[in-house]
Symmetry: C3
Subunit: 453 residues, 3 copies
């Protein structure tokens, strides 16, 4: 049982990649025009398929009922332009995938200035930026441009050319399962439907690619790891619909989003207040000495679906700057300049710490629970004690005493860290030492001492 500990897991994961590698994925994927369906998201998922092993794509035909929703028709855009009457191109989606309102219907014709303005969306308060806008379920067409750009459109007549199709096809999502010793799953969900927005959410996509690659190199994992790449909302709902019976294998889960900007780490709690995911993340952020933990609210990303009352899964949301709180959010300013290799790597390392914590969070059970075991005889204690207050200065001595005292099968390593105030490294190495010294054994589940001896 001792080999269930992985003291070096964090280092192994962190050494597997770099900020530049993480950033390079975002660069590759940035130009693609993605939406919740269509070739753009499939191209994006195929990129992940190439970079990892056992990547599985799932197609769900348009019209399929998924929970309370219906999978929409597949949308594909060939081109979208606004021209003046001279034929000069004034707006072209080829220049920015944000220029087209997502799910715009096909349109080809002349329109007056007044009519065109009804189909133009801008951000008057951020006159340089292009907004990101969708209209999945209300048929319409529209262009998104900067306010300054709009102010230059002063001609009385324009020609609009939107070459788009909305036809029965498929909704596609991707997933990777890395099997572990148990079927209990550590779950990550990444929305990948946004077009050229770097932080939201190519940042998470890139991090997860490297995380999968690193975990697929680990010979043996305690838990199974599942990574789900979905179009927002409808994709999470489709996945839940397809995994209705089995999704309760999820032990801990994180929706990942906006992980490349300079903000501090933010964890938004799972609805299930007392789930261990909340405890893990609270502790990890406390250890960082910065960042914040937010209460659950039923708004944000796909945690809305995972935390709907019927599922109520132990899934929270990990971000740096939260959605809607930074001026670049859902605008053309969320570009490759907005995310940095160092922040991507920091986020990667934070998730690596979470994984290391989860994998190692076993329940030690003392083999000598009655009184302290005689550590001196086993070479685990100073044999001559002078000023015993010195023991306070030797973290490993106090860590040994703490672990032994709490090794009742009711306290996991996380509990031990919280009660002792000792670091993860200190408790983990102590548990490893005592386990190798045959003084404790390790249980994967909470268990009373009396059930063990």
């Amino acid at each position: 049982m001792n080999n269930i500990l992985k003291p070096d897991l964090y280092d192994v994961l962190c050494n597997s990649t770099s900020g530049d590698v993480l950033f390079s994925h975002a660069e590759e994927l940035f130009p693609i025009l993605r939406s919740i369906t269509g070739e753009g998201i499939r191209e994006t998922l195929r990129y992940a398929e190439e970079k990892t092993r056992n990547f599985k794509l799932t197609d769900i035909p348009s019209g399929t009922k998924v929970l309370d929703w219906i999978v929409p028709d597949e949308w594909n855009l060939k081109s979208a332009k606004i021209k003046n009457t001279n034929g000069d191109v004034l707006v072209d989606v080829a220049n920015s995938s944000l220029h087209i309102m997502q799910y715009s219907t096909a349109y080809r014709g002349e329109v007056s200035h007044d009519v065109l303005m009804q189909h133009i969306f801008t951000l008057p308060d951020q006159p340089d930026l292009i907004p990101y806008k969708t209209s999945y379920y209300n048929k319409n067409w529209g262009f998104c441009i900067s306010e300054n750009h709009r102010n230059n459109l002063i001609d009385p007549e324009y020609r609009v050319e939107i070459d788009a199709s909305l036809e029965p096809g498929n909704l596609t999502y991707g997933e990777v399962l890395i099997p572990g010793d148990t079927e209990e799953e550590i779950f990550f969900s990444i929305h990948c439907c946004h077009p050229s927005l770097a932080n939201d959410n190519l940042s998470s996509f890139s991090i997860v690619l490297e995380l999968i690659r690193a975990l697929q190199m680990i010979p043996r994992l305690r838990f199974s790891y599942r990574f789900v790449f979905v179009p927002g909302t409808i994709g999470a709902i489709a996945w839940l619909s397809n995994n209705f019976e089995s999704c309760h294998k999820i032990r801990n889960g994180l929706v990942l989003s906006c992980l490349g900007d300079s903000g501090d780490i933010t964890y938004k709690k799972s609805r299930n207040e007392k789930c261990s995911t909340n405890h893990y993340l609270q502790w990890l952020i406390d250890q960082e000495g910065k960042g914040r933990v937010l209460a659950f609210e039923p708004y944000g990303y796909d945690e809305r679906q995972y935390c709907s009352p019927g599922f109520n899964l132990p899934v929270g949301c990990l971000m740096r700057s939260p959605n809607g709180t930074f001026p670049e959010y859902h605008t053309s300013a969320d570009n490759l300049d907005f995310i940095k290799p160092e922040y991507l790597l920091e986020s990667f390392k934070f998730i690596a710490k979470f994984i290391s914590l989860v994998e190692n969070d076993v329940f030690p059970v003392s083999k000598f629970p009655y009184g302290e075991p005689q550590l001196g005889r086993r070479g685990l204690y100073p044999s001559s004690s002078g000023d015993v207050s010195n023991a306070q200065d030797v973290p490993s001595q106090m860590s040994i005493l703490w672990v032994l005292n709490l090794a009742d099968g009711e306290h996991s390593l996380l509990d031990m860290m919280i009660k002792s105030g000792k670091s993860f490294a200190s408790i983990l190495s102590t548990v490893d030492l005592l386990s190798k010294g045959d003084v404790i054994h390790l249980s994967q589940v909470r268990c009373g001492l009396s059930a063990q001896i």
Copy 2:
């Protein structure tokens, strides 16, 4: 089931009366010389009988054992005077019902200045005011006058004439039951034994008269409402004795007192710390942004009896300025100038809010608990979302998401308000909307989601 919601109940109740009407009851009842037994309290109760329907009077003969107590003889006073030796009237209960110590024995005779002084009670620190004093169980006679008045009594001899009777009769209390869909009761207890004291407790008496009249106009109520008008202590004990088996139907209860002065609303908690009455009132007072919630203590009004350990009923006490904390308390300054129509009305409205909250505090259960229901299809969500952070500014959108997320049968409307921080109006209208839209159904009791679907 949907019709159990009463979104307009608060407005209906508030529109049924006015501060002037509330005040007029106090004016009518102020002059009556009341005590715990006798014609005064019966006259007071008959006033309530005239103003309401189904008012029931209960007589309990003197000598009856009620719990650990014995109903005392009935006390009636015809007149009480102190005269000088010339026959000039110096003190006359006809001028103030407070002049006689309650339950004074009959007395007719000459007394020296010294003896008289042993039977005179004043408030030396408030030399203009007459105190209120009782001696129910210790036979004696006495007069209550102002300190200034007492200082003028400098003759050596006086004639005392107290024409009182203390004979077997009845203790009388009144009550009104307004039946609802369930036998569970919302309970109000009002002590009405005090003579001419306006705030303590004609204020509550007046408010309750109008509350009964308003509730008797509501075609259908979820809970039954019981209003009990009792002489303090012995009356509450008599009522409990007569309702020993059935008093546990009380779901929420309030002893009402001192509701006409300018102080902020005060709620003194029920002994049963976790009862829903405490939660309701805590929340209501939090919403007011003023007022206070006090811990239970076994001193004060008849909550002492309702919260005795054998009953331990979910009954707290609602006041404005609490007993003993204002200088007018139990003096002749607690008169009709001390209470104001506006404060009476404000108290009435506060209780109306409590009733509206209780009646509407059902447990929504989602019919589509797995993932979010597709609101757009049902016209409950903006079909095109641009900057979705706008949804934060649309309370009804967030309210819809909150209600759906918490509609697991474990959260009542109060729970939803507390978790979401949304207003009562917002959550109530949202629950109404979703219920009419057939997205949720409403349970009267806490129930797990799984028991419902």
Copy 3:
């Protein structure tokens, strides 16, 4: 049942001794060279045997397995000296029992300055003081002297003469059991292995001698009291080994240490966070208005053994200045000047208060739980109430109301004090009054009201 209350117990205990008597025990015992085994600790225990009744000595032969430990050989020291080559005595354990490192092996021979220095221990930061040092399980010899003293040892050669034996013998501990009405035990553990250190731990030894004498004079006790005098660590482990099955009779326990210095009272909690020992001590220290309560940690005194996970006994540790926090700790400055009669007496009184609280902490159950009992009829209430707010100023009236209200068999006297904010004296006298007035009865255990009436 009424006679289970002992309102005068605290006074009886406190009047039984004085600071000077307490100090005199420490004086008598100070010079003895004690260790965890040998004649020194046996001589110390025999002193306790003389001063008390029913003192029981237990010998455990060397080599006996006690839990995970082995009882070591018995160590006895006849003399230990360092001489110069002229035969002048430079260091002599006859001058201070601290001069010899505990469990030093026998040695006789010449050594160079360099070799000697490897066997000399000092406190360089406290150059006047002799350290206290042990080497129980690592065979070696050593002397402890002051840094200044060491600096005077400038000769090239010395003669060392340690006349010590380490041979099979016994480990000896002492204990006193004072039987009470129940087998549930109030437990005290005192380590008595240290040589001439006054605060650590002759202070506790002295206090406990007087406490035993006082308790042995009390005709009838509710609980049984056990006092255990053990060599640190190995003694507690030996006692636990010998009482493996019965130690769970311990209802409340305290390890006593360092109770004679000028610091405020310190309570270090039991590992079992919710045990009543923690509640009692927290309340007692709150009442003191000074002192502190520390979280449990698995370091310190023998609470480490009693609170090991297999036993998890409700045992905390009571000190004044905690171990390792004062400069005199484990040095020759922890002498008879460091402890004072007044502090010893104050500690004694604090423990007396704890015992009085525990003995009197019964669960009152009202015989009239429905409504308030009519106290006036029983002479327990003012028969005439004028300004009833006066009752607030009469603690006994409010105490009566509190006790009656909480007399549901769920609230002990401690609970009543916490909820009412009333003093121990006030609640105790009230419970006594109401019990004698036959209004309540007293249960030794928590019990629902309904089970009683």
